[in-house]
């Protein structure tokens, strides 16, 4: 391959982060904003996983027939993966809270537009 796949993965993560921030900033619909924020979190997760990746390496699961020194040299770095697992769960629970708030606000205002329901109330 001409282009390094790890580098391309970093770029994918970066573009997901940029898409997420763009959506949160410029799209007015709350659902779209939330989808954008989910992409932002996905992008960060992908970034972390890509960082732990080792080109030409093996999965970090130690099987009985492996040689320790060989495993230590070729396995990918497992600490970032543990962080991502935590972050996925945190992201999903935060998403649920946000969506609950959106449902309540839609019931009150009958709208999903951020510029209508989340504007300055002048207090």
């Amino acid at each position: 391959m001409v282009v390094d796949s790890q580098l391309m993965s970093f770029f994918t993560a970066g573009s997901l982060v940029v898409i997420g921030i763009f959506a949160a900033l410029f799209l007015d619909n709350l659902i779209k904003k939330i989808i954008g924020l989910a992409f932002l979190a996905d992008g960060v997760n992908l970034f972390i996983i890509t960082m732990g990746y080792k080109p030409g390496g093996i999965v970090y699961i130690f099987l009985p027939d492996m040689v320790v020194s060989n495993f230590a040299q070729t396995a990918s770095y497992p600490l970032p993966f543990a962080l991502v697992l935590t972050n996925i769960v945190i992201g999903a629970s935060t998403l649920a809270v946000i969506l609950g708030l959106v449902i309540i606000l839609n019931k009150r205002h009958g709208s999903l537009s951020a510029s209508k329901i989340l504007r300055d109330k002048g207090e």
Binding site: A24, I90, V97
Partner: protein, 499 residues
């Protein structure tokens, strides 16, 4: 193994109690008893705990584990691998002791007033308060930067819950704004943390500093600067410095008074905890201190000038609380041991005084159900004792001599002059005076001017527990004002270690 189990209890007890309270939904008496017992125990634990560090799961560094270290090849014992911390580590020194104690104290007063001011206390609200306390204690104690991120997210969710539970008009909107902004700041903070992880191969702050000092990593590489910037951004969100000062003051004004008292304590201690980590990691870079001072000056100016032009007294207090955060930031940013001690002392004082003010002004909300200063007046005749207590709280915030903020502000000004920046001292004095003026304007319109005809004062008596909490907070203010050594002695060691 020097695993000190009581350190972990400081975080686990509030979480366990919170989860249990959540189960008891409709049993008012049990909730009251359990909540008050937990609230009493939380500030006591840090006083009983001996200093030291706790390793979760018993994963001590190999260097401290004699049985495991025996017979290891020199490949491991000869390198830094031998020193690294394999598990989550909590560090508990005298500074953490003081700060966790003050946080526990404020939680106690918040729970105490909450249980007596509400007719049917809900277990869920107490759950959120304890959850927030647990996460902020963990942020203060933890030496593991990813652990801090996890508790940062939990604290944000708990804060959102406290706003949602308040039932004040438009609280859902503010909660949604806060959590949406948090969803930008949180992942970016995590990005900063994992960049550091990728560069140093570690999430433990002590180990990261070790790798920087030993020269395994070039600390001036642009990647690390990116991490520093992203962590600083997450720090701004957690503590409510600009550009997050508008949302943070809105958050304070949309919570019930005891909730707001607790929320500002969370912000103050998160600011201190993450600020200390930034200083520990990046103090080799002289621009870090300049950036912290710059942000703090902007926070002070914007917070206090915005406080003057507000008409809702909870919003005034919210902006004043944000403005006062700037003093702490200046103390941390000065970078001298004396300056950092002064900043930490100011943090402790501010957490106490602002809860004092929020709970004190909360009595007005309790009696009138309105927080608009235009509609208020003549509260002095309704309850002169509480009015006097609120006035004393305002004097404490402005830094009037026998009270505690005077000592810390004096120390801050001295530290600024010693570091060759007397202008910061002048700005601090100027803004202290304006803070006092803003407070007096609110105090005058609420308490002293004649009562408007439309204002209805409810017939409910202010609970005795609220007055007791206010008096207790005043006593703490006076004690810290007369004997500042109690606090500064415990904060000095941490400050000296940061320089």
């Amino acid at each position: 193994m020097n695993a000190n189990a009581l350190i972990a209890v400081m975080v686990i007890l509030p979480i366990a109690s919170a989860l249990f309270l959540n189960l008891l939904h409709k049993k008012d008496r049990t909730i009251k008893i359990l909540a008050i017992i937990t609230a009493i125990v939380i500030p006591i634990i840090p006083l009983l705990t001996p200093y030291g560090s706790h390793f979760f799961g018993g994963y001590v560094p190999l260097a401290q584990n004699a049985t495991l270290a025996q017979g290891l090849p020199s490949l491991i014992t000869g390198t830094q691998l031998f020193q690294f911390h394999p598990g989550v580590m909590y560090v508990f020194t005298s500074a953490q002791q003081l700060m966790v104690f003050v946080l526990g104290l404020i939680t106690f007063f918040a729970i105490f007033t909450f249980l007596n001011e509400t007719k049917r206390p809900s277990g869920v609200y107490a759950f959120l308060m304890f959850m927030g306390t647990a996460s902020v204690s963990a942020i203060l104690l933890s030496d593991d930067i990813f652990n801090i991120f996890v508790f940062f997210e939990i604290a944000a969710l708990a804060q959102v819950g406290i706003i949602v539970a308040s039932g004040i008009k438009n609280n859902y909107e503010t909660a949604l704004k806060y959590i949406l902004l948090g969803n930008i700041a949180g992942p970016l903070l995590l990005l900063g943390i994992v960049i550091l992880l990728g560069v140093t191969g570690n999430v433990n702050v002590t180990d990261m500093i070790f790798t920087f000092k030993q020269g395994y990593v070039d600390p001036n590489s642009p990647v690390i600067l990116m991490a520093l910037a992203l962590i600083a951004f997450g720090w701004l969100y957690a503590s409510g410095l600009p550009p997050f000062h508008t949302i943070k003051s809105a958050v304070y004004s949309k919570a019930l008074p005891h909730g707001a008292a607790l929320l500002q304590a969370f912000s103050v201690f998160t600011l201190v905890a993450i600020g200390i980590i930034i200083l520990r990691l990046f103090s080799y870079n002289p621009f870090t201190n300049i950036a912290i001072i710059g942000i703090s000056v902007i926070a002070m100016i914007l917070g206090i000038t915005m406080a003057i032009v507000q008409t809702d007294y909870k919003r005034i207090l919210g902006y004043l609380a944000v403005g006062e955060l700037g003093y702490i930031g200046i103390g941390l940013g000065l970078g001298t041991a004396f300056g950092i001690t002064a900043g930490l002392f100011q943090a402790v004082n501010e957490a106490i005084i602002t809860s004092f003010l929020f709970i004190g002004f909360g009595t007005v909300l309790y009696k009138t159900r309105t927080s608009n200063t235009r509609k208020l007046g003549g509260m002095m005749y309704v309850n002169p004792k509480v009015a006097l207590l609120v006035l004393l709280a305002g004097l404490a915030m402005a830094g009037v001599p026998p009270l505690n903020a005077f000592q810390s502000k004096l120390m801050l000004i001295q530290a600024a002059i010693q570091s060759g920046l007397p202008e910061l001292g002048i700005i601090m004095i100027l803004l202290s005076i304006v803070t006092f003026m803003t407070f007096m304007k609110a105090f005058y319109t609420i308490y002293m001017r004649p009562k408007p005809k439309e204002l209805e004062i409810l017939d409910n008596k202010i609970p005795r527990s609220t007055v007791i909490s206010l008096v207790a907070l005043l006593i703490i203010c006076i004690i810290l004002g007369l004997f500042p050594q109690i606090a500064t002695n415990s904060l000095q060691t941490l400050a000296a270690g940061l320089v």
